[in-house]
Symmetry: C2
Subunit: 196 residues, 2 copies
DNA sequence: AGCGAAATCTTGTCAGTGCAAAGATGGCGT
DNA sequence: ACGCCATCTTTGCACTGACAAGATTTCGCT
């Protein structure tokens, strides 16, 4: 196929892998992790229901790739927050925590896939590495403050708890707050977990 | 079928509702929230796949009832911990937090159903009330310490984060610890969130 | 160029699932 | 004794994930 005219799509998609990932993210946002359907993803991308097989094997493969991509964006969201924060280690760690919560609220379905689902195969090298990178980033920040393993656990748990509860709409007071109040309340909580 | 001899079971189960709830909990523990199958529950209980319909309507109904039962046990687990702790408000709140983590590790599938799933209908009166009772219990404890809404959020988030991460096996250092060390590490983290 | 091999995508099939409707059974009140 | 009705089963439908086999295109190699 040298020329693609009209609406007739070529037999080969061109970049189906990327298209499927994008469609899967949409599907995930619309139907949630539990209502996720591989066939619906294929429909969304305009290909047959078996097309994903060649690129991802099965549903777990697709979701693993999506979760890995999620962890990369997760880290990027935290780093974006850090870039606008004061350079001292404490402020940087706080910013990372706020970014953690930001991500969960901005992409709840992806967050659930990454932290609350058993569907992805977390032994996949790509996924494992992406998750590890996010974890290492946290460890480095805590160490810069002179903290140890207990501090890593405390900070992580606090940020994760806030993110998970806020994402699932259980921290009701938070929703009634203005942006500034919300930020202040989250910061207050996160700072409690940070040593010093 | 007038006479029931051998292994032939009677047409009417007797207490199918309770049997289904028990079977559902087993199924949940074995297959996880995402692999949960209503028909498998029915098989486990030895009835036809449509039998649950009369008692619970659909899968969401069954899971809602199970989640409500989960919240009651969740509260009971916390209270059991409190009973063995010093009576001062601070120790009681700490005990509740440790109970929170206990529950998640003892019944991970149930915990995921209660906090990480969209399958139960959280607007169900029974479920809503059970969840509310657990939340109120936390609020009362925080208020006994003179804390406010921010303190409730901080303590809840810390306990929930620890529970969720520990349950999903992400707090690796925790697994390598002895019981005492583990307890001490969790207490250290929880106490950071408690005011005073 | 051109030809075979491999990659990519489609169609077809099968077992399993949730849900709904209709039929079978037996307890219970009158 | 009779009929009502809650309970349970059977049957049917649409959907899903996984697999197999076939169709189509592209790529590599000569």
């Amino acid at each position: 196929m040298t020329a693609v005219d009209d609406a007739a799509r070529p037999y080969h998609h061109g970049d189906l892998r990327a298209a499927l990932l994008a469609a899967a993210e949409q599907e995930l946002a619309d139907a949630g992790v539990e209502g996720f359907s591989l066939r619906a993803v294929a429909r969304r991308a305009g290909v047959s229901h078996a097309a994903p097989k060649h690129h991802f094997g099965d549903a777990a493969g697709l979701l693993s790739a999506l979760a890995a991509e999620g962890f990369r964006r997760f880290l990027a969201t935290q780093q974006a927050r850090e870039a606008t924060a004061p350079p001292d280690a404490r402020s940087q760690l706080l910013a990372a925590g706020l970014g953690y919560v930001d991500f969960a609220q901005a992409r709840p379905a992806l967050f659930r896939l990454m932290f609350g689902s058993a569907k992805p195969d977390f032994a996949t090298p790509d996924l494992q590495q992406a998750g590890r990178a996010a974890y290492d980033h946290l460890c480095v920040q805590v160490q810069a403050l002179g903290g140890g393993a207990n501090d890593v656990a405390a900070v992580w748990a606090m940020a994760h708890g806030l993110a998970d509860l806020a994402m699932s709409g259980r921290l009701l007071p938070l929703h009634a707050m203005s942006q500034e109040e919300r930020e202040a309340a989250l910061s207050d909580a996160i700072l409690r977990a940070i040593p010093g």
